[in-house]
Symmetry: C2
Subunit: 194 residues, 2 copies
């Protein structure tokens, strides 16, 4: 027996969220029906207000509600950590040890998908290199992430700025037994004296 | 570094969905930012329209957009399958073998949580028993589900109507080795000749 149209439509909307399959979307839709009208309207307001208030920081390209984000306003601008997406800023900043600023590329170089340097937030990175001592490449350790890091390093190094890459090796809490060969190779290459 | 207020608010809203933790909620919120304004507004419309269009079927208590749901309108009314929640109708009806109607209680008896018979959709069940040959109890096989089934059976059996319970036993595809004792007990009790 078919479900009511409006429920089917909402299930489809929820299915468009990352990692949400049909069954989870169904569960979400049913929980929306169980909410009060005020709660649902609040939920919608929150969604719409994110779309209208949040835009990209004029300096780093991260999400912010201001012209320039809090991190760019308050942190040490002599070190820039370059990431692919805003969610990576979130992950890196959680550790709390890094005191520099970020720069969000909004993607990685991918010739196959037609994403060249002009599609990424690279120009504004080159504009903010005055007085910068170090640029840390924190793109993912996959083909596209590595290519992007190498490309940027070639642009930035000639300006006399130190370019570094996040260390690659075994994750804390993981098992050497189950680590793949490339990870183990990198871990051996980057071994440090104790 | 704190995230923008509107993002934090949206993350909180997503966290209120069943089974969604902070990290998943964050992922959902960021994917909302990545959507176009039109997509987000569509999403909101779908949420609001579910709240305004979907209500409970006057006969069975399941979700519908009409006065009486399609199942109640089209199916054999001499068999009623009693479930706790609308999502259970969805699960049971997927198999496609059942041709009768449903009745949704919207909960189970739970004296500890203050849910007595008056809090459940029981009165309307008793009103639709004319001409009914069988009532199938399809509440969950837990304490509250069993108590609810037993309570309803005591009300309905004296009216000369057959009351049955979903078979309990080993799930298809599961391992006898890992089945718990109660399930195995029930499976033995309910064994059938081959």
């Amino acid at each position: 027996m078919k479900q009511p149209d409006s429920i089917v439509k909402l299930i489809n909307k929820f299915s468009s969220l990352p990692g949400v399959g049909l069954k989870t979307a169904q569960r979400f839709a049913y929980s929306i029906i169980d909410m009060s009208e005020a709660e649902v309207s609040d939920f919608c307001d929150a969604m719409m207000s994110v779309k209208s208030n949040v835009h990209l920081c004029a300096e780093c390209g991260n999400f912010t509600e201001k012209e320039v984000c809090d991190i760019c306003l308050q942190r040490d601008k002599s070190v820039i950590c370059v990431v692919a997406y805003p969610k990576d800023v979130l992950a890196l900043d959680k550790s709390g040890t890094y005191r520099g600023v970020y720069h969000v590329l909004h993607g990685t170089l991918s010739p196959l998908d037609g994403r060249g340097p002009n599609e990424l937030n690279i120009k504004s990175l080159l504009k903010r290199l005055d007085g910068v001592k170090e640029v840390i490449m924190a793109t993912n350790p996959d083909v596209e992430g590595e290519a992007t890091a190498t490309y940027l390093a070639r642009l930035i190094k000639p300006l006399g700025i130190k370019v570094t890459r996040l260390a690659q090796g075994i994750s804390i809490g993981s098992d050497i037994e189950y680590a793949d060969e490339v990870t183990l190779d990198r871990a051996l290459d980057g071994r440090t004296e104790i």
